[in-house]
Subunit: 359 residues, 2 copies
């Protein structure tokens, strides 16, 4: 069955309906310690009561080969077959790791994602990128494998900390910038907690439309990297600065010290500046974005002393080729251009202007 | 690029030609200790001299998660990018494990298979099944991923032990049985060492034609399981009897005590008997096959005391559903039928007649 998304606030009933129409001989459910305790009891599903539970440690620092092997072991020991189904209930970490485990167990069993954070609903749960961190690098090992079904609900978001909700909202802003003026106007005029299920659906559909045309990221899908060249560098910079780098690069875990979406929000501003400089992206849209990000995300706390480190990180981005810094930029809202080579001086100017907005 | 196969006895030149037409920023070559020492020095390729070498332990007992992690580490540490290419040089173990490592490193880099045994040339190197043993089970974890290029040569086979050559030849016989009378007649009238490069090409093409129509084994591809329901049970039985089971099920390795192809050869006879009993497969073709297998493969050494164990193993085959024994059978040479349910009594009769032929 092709990837299908159900938007509902009756998650348990939706899951039972999906499973009733699936030839599933054995059901497994993957959660982390948090979603096991806080989310699972509130999903009213008959099928889940009979499922075999697999519980992993929470947090991106546990998105490791050890946790992956734990899931493979649990599936194997409990007799999962090619007709079994794995339900991943959690944030991006659970969807990424569980999706990869399912994609590779017996060369691929079916899986269902139930994202419990806004970030995973608009990002990890949809589009088929699965994987784990390895050798100190994010998503170094993984596979393209789409969930057979995704069940998206806003009911889990009510209990999310505001910071977590804002983090996911940055991807909603990105999708709006790729989509068009009307969506961008709506999204940028409201607070993250005002997001409706209908707006969430529209946001996910922006990603779906792009992924359907280029599932393996040969070209068009790279438009989804908007904000992420600068964003990933900020994330890695914060990670190194937190002093966790030493231990983590020894193992395979990565501990986040800057929420992903915050880094993306600042990255969106920096890359909108670059878009203005190089592709005449309108200054009034840049200004609206910069103001919104300042008001809701504050400042990344970088100074010009950090620029050499940030440039070095951008050069080592997975998306870069032979050390050249590359960005997705916008001509206008709704009109992205992939693969723009960027000079060091342009990046420095963009970071200066980002700081003018948010510091 | 779609999977392409070059048949040549100039392997080095063929590899250089392929790589010259590939946008490959960095080349890696995977061998095991044996192929590193015995094969690599004889491949006259300029590109290989500049490649980063990765060497793993030889043998199916090392087709493990540890060896997989070793390959991922080597790729990651030496800066492999999405534009890198991995060349797997070896038997089925190297092609299976290397293919899986490539399929999952950064969600998939390109790889080239150079099979060095007859078995891997006609089986593992082609068709996109990659994987490792895990939790004491063969290929429990893996992916469907086709090599971007396969370079097949008979020049490596000259130094193979006769037993290894015969093991591969069983898959050649299987392909001939799926193909038609003319091929079957040719293959069954000559000794394994008489196989020509042209015949090898024809044999691989039988598999390719089937895989192209059903890459993910939803139906037609199961015809390639001919001989393997009984064959896998014999292999597992020999493995358990060798006394290695205890240690191996603790780790993730599997050590083979009966060559795969021998088990398949005996499996082909047993399943040809079942084909005769259930689908009127002609007795003269059964007789020619039985005689050939007796002359070249000898006996598996089973007695009727082993039947309960063998039946139990067949019920737990990856291909079986809900404990029902299932076989691919033949109406005639060249006319396979998948998914035939088989009773215990029929299996026992088939094993009796197999023993009449080969004991």
């Amino acid at each position: 069955m092709p990837q299908h998304i159900t938007y509902t606030n009756q998650v348990g009933a939706a899951l039972d309906r999906v499973l009733a129409s699936t030839c599933c001989l054995r059901l497994f459910v993957l959660t982390d310690e948090n979603t096991h305790q806080l989310v699972l009891p509130h999903i009213d599903s008959k099928a889940l009561h009979q499922a075999t539970e697999i519980i992993i440690h929470a947090g991106d620092e546990h998105k490791t080969l050890d946790a992956l092997a734990q899931v493979w072991h649990a599936l194997s020991d409990d007799g999962a077959t090619r007709q079994s189904v794995l339900v991943n209930i959690g944030g991006g970490m659970v969807c990424d790791l569980g999706g990869f485990a399912a994609a590779t167990f017996k060369r691929g069993i079916r899986f269902i994602n139930i994202p419990t954070t806004l970030l995973s609903a608009v990002d990890a749960a949809v589009g088929g990128k699965t994987g784990i961190n390895f050798n100190g690098l994010k998503n170094e090992v993984g596979a393209f494998a789409e969930a057979d079904e995704v069940i998206i609900s806003t009911c889990f978001f009510k209990s999310l900390p505001p910071k977590e909700l804002r983090s996911g909202y940055a991807e909603v802003i990105k999708h709006a910038m790729l989509d068009g003026h009307e969506t961008f106007g709506q999204i940028i005029e409201q607070a993250p907690q005002q997001l409706t299920l209908q707006q969430l659906e529209a946001s996910v559909q922006v990603k779906q439309r792009i992924v359907a045309q280029d599932p393996h990221e040969q070209g068009l899908r790279r438009t989804l990297n908007l904000g992420h060249t600068v964003g990933h560098a900020l994330e890695s910079w914060a990670f190194q600065r937190s002093g966790l780098a030493g231990t983590s690069f020894q193992g395979s875990g990565i501990r986040a010290s800057m929420p992903h979406g915050y880094a993306v929000a600042w990255g969106l501003v920096a890359e909108a500046v670059l878009s203005h400089m190089l592709l005449q992206f309108p200054s009034d849209d840049l200004h609206r974005l910069g103001t919104y990000v300042r008001d809701h995300y504050g400042t990344p706390g970088i100074t010009c002393d950090d620029y050499p480190t940030l440039l070095e990180l951008m050069r080592h981005d997975k998306k870069s080729r032979q050390g050249e810094i590359n960005c997705t930029l916008l001509r206008h809202i709704g009109d992205p251009v992939i693969d723009n080579p960027i000079t060091d001086d342009d990046i420095k100017t963009a970071l200066d202007i980002l700081r003018d907005y948010v510091d």
